[in-house]
Symmetry: C2
Subunit: 83 residues, 2 copies
């Protein structure tokens, strides 16, 4: 769930900044296939990957995490579950 | 570097909230040895672990990450390196 939300936020900002997966992967020094898996929520990023991708997009890691957190809490609230 | 900063921030908040490693590990549903390794900067947490530990301490994940980011950027600035 958290990794799916992260993947959605990452894809949104990558497109907003006009980056291809190839370009972002190169600038953040991550594998292109790994980046694609992150965007699809298949892999869980480490904190280091979150920092590298955020900075490559010109964003603060805490801004990216805040957005993931807001989306995640909305989904959990809608499910009526406890965080 | 990032994982060391995360480990320091995590230990600080754990102690501030009066949690033992055992209690935090139990509440966040992570292994006690793994938590100890995170605090020592030996392991890199996934985003899911960051969320679980933050919520267990009653904190927002973005607050924890903002503090890691501030400490990390201070260290990088002092090294005179580019982020």
């Amino acid at each position: 769930l958290i990794q799916n939300t992260f993947g959605d936020v990452l894809r949104k900002y990558r497109k907003l900044h006009g980056f291809s997966q190839e370009k972002l992967a190169l600038e953040a020094n991550v594998d292109r296939t790994y980046l694609s898996e992150l965007e699809r929520g298949i892999r869980k990023p480490t904190i280091n990957t979150v920092f590298a991708l955020s900075y490559a997009l010109g964003l603060k890691p805490s801004e990216v995490i805040r957005e993931v957190e807001e989306e995640y809490e909305k989904i959990v609230d809608n499910l009526g579950e406890k965080v």
